[in-house]
């Protein structure tokens, strides 16, 4: 298990260095969005219409923050459960998205798409919203303001911590971890 420092945008070369179980510290600009923002991006992609932001080399953090109490840039900002984004994810990966960050299991289709499009799925510590907010230096809404907490945001992060769950080689940390500690009988 290695520690990688990643700076955005993310290249195929960056992705191919990552293995399930590796730690990453991410710095740069990343996107954040959840259910409804994904639905809208997906529908635009299906219609072949332009997206409000480019996904090429991008990171999508599945997160809807609490409102920012001044002078903080953002409120609590932990990951939401990822499987709800599964129906939309392969299409977003096809459009160039390189890393997705959330918590919880992904579908077989998403895991296959990660291999096909050279991308990875990472997890941040679910429920640690106050702690994770410390890695976020600024936040601004880039699209879908009407969605409130579900709007699409751009975050500036410094050493944002995550762990690789599904790599571009088909490995799955959730399966590996559970097998190590399972007690039968």
């Amino acid at each position: 298990m290695e520690l990688h420092y990643l700076n955005t945008p993310i290249s195929d070369e960056d992705v191919l260095k990552l293995r399930a179980g590796d730690r990453v510290l991410i710095s740069g600009r990343i996107l954040s969005g959840r259910d409804q923002a994904h639905k809208r991006l997906f529908e635009l992609l299906l219609k072949g219409e332009p997206l409000p932001v480019s996904l090429k080399g991008q990171i999508m953090y599945y997160m809807g923050p609490t409102p920012a109490p001044p002078p903080r840039p953002i409120g609590a900002a932990g990951p939401t459960t990822s499987y709800r984004m599964d129906p939309y994810t392969p299409e977003l990966l096809k459009a160039g998205l390189k890393l997705t960050i959330g918590k919880g299991k992904r579908s077989k289709e998403v895991k296959e798409a990660l291999v096909k499009y050279k991308a990875c799925y990472l997890a941040a510590t679910g429920g640690a919203g106050a702690l994770i907010s410390k890695a976020i230096r600024s936040a601004r809404i880039v699209a879908y303001q009407d969605l409130g907490p579900e709007a699409l945001r751009e975050l500036e992060v410094v050493d944002f911590p995550a762990i690789v769950i599904n790599d571009a080689y088909g490995n799955d940390l959730y399966e590996m971890g559970m097998k190590t500690y399972e007690i039968r009988g």
Binding site: K105, G127, G129, M178
Partner: protein, 278 residues
């Protein structure tokens, strides 16, 4: 007849929703520490350390412990000799509305079909039990969506028995895996009927973590189920480890001779509730 002002209820509920979201209970903090000592997986230990640090930051800096500040569930024990001045639901919802605005909490409710946010985190789900006397006792429970989504109801045949109950609870935890932010607390409601077993499961979560079930038979069943759950290897955040759940809490009541209803309500480590007694 005792009169209670709706204004007082509103203010107390407002304070309670804010405090519940900023300060995780002492019983949870103690559970994190105990789990940290027992966890064998290095990554599992790191997760537990993160949770302890997260709780400290949230409390000291007055920001929510988790960004999912929940849908508010209220359990109310209302004495039959109490008269509320100014409307009970109105007062509770005004408190939630103000608390979520002033406390910078996320508004997490929406229309189920259009998905349009209701904008103020109402309506509140209120379960009222009328009791003798003039007491007014209320629990405010902001419940996160991730763990709620992993909850289940089973209408088992009586032949399923205790073994059938254990099997369904363990399988529900296994299927949920990393999704509900383990380590979790598993609320189990046995008996009643279709809707009541789910309500019992949720109410079971109100019991503090370090207090034993008063029914020795259920206390033993809780231990048996917890042992099975912690053998799955799911561990903190599903990354592999010994501590998948901190506790199993059971509430039980009689049921129809034809049924064995079973409700399972999963609670993430952001186990937040505040009690108000007026």
């Amino acid at each position: 007849m005792r009169e209670i002002s709706g204004d007082i209820i509103r203010e107390k509920v407002k304070e309670a929703v804010i405090k519940a979201n900023y300060e995780i209970g002492e019983d949870m903090l103690q559970a994190f520490q105990e789990a940290l000592e027992r966890e064998e997986s290095p990554v599992g230990k790191e997760v537990l350390q993160d949770l302890i640090l997260n709780a400290r930051i949230a409390k000291e800096e007055c920001i929510p412990y988790c960004q999912d500040t929940g849908l508010v569930v209220v359990f109310l024990e209302l004495g039959q000799d109490v008269h509320i001045l100014g409307g009970l639901r109105e007062s509770i919802e005004a408190g939630v509305r103000m608390g979520y605005q002033e406390g910078y909490l996320r508004k997490s409710l929406c229309d189920p079909l259009s998905r349009k946010n209701t904008g103020d985190n109402t309506p509140v789900i209120i379960h009222t039990q009328v009791v003798p006397g003039d007491t007014f006792r209320l629990w405010v429970v902001p419940k996160g969506g991730g763990s709620e989504n992993m909850s289940k109801v089973f209408m088992l045949p009586p032949s399923a028995g205790v073994d059938g109950i254990i099997e369904r609870v363990v399988n529900t935890v296994l299927e949920a895996g990393p999704n509900p932010c383990p380590p979790t607390i598993v609320g189990v409601g046995i008996g009643g009927n279709f809707e009541t077993c789910a309500l019992l499961a949720k109410k079971a979560l109100l019991r503090p973590l370090n207090s034993p079930n008063p029914d020795p038979q259920l206390a033993q069943l809780e231990e048996r189920i917890l042992e099975r759950i912690n053998k799955t290897g799911i561990g903190p955040q599903g990354l592999g480890g010994r501590i998948t759940s901190f506790a199993v809490h059971i509430l039980m009541m009689p049921c129809h001779i034809a049924s064995l209803p079973l409700g399972i309500n999963i609670q993430c480590h952001a186990n937040r509730h505040r009690e108000i007694v007026l």
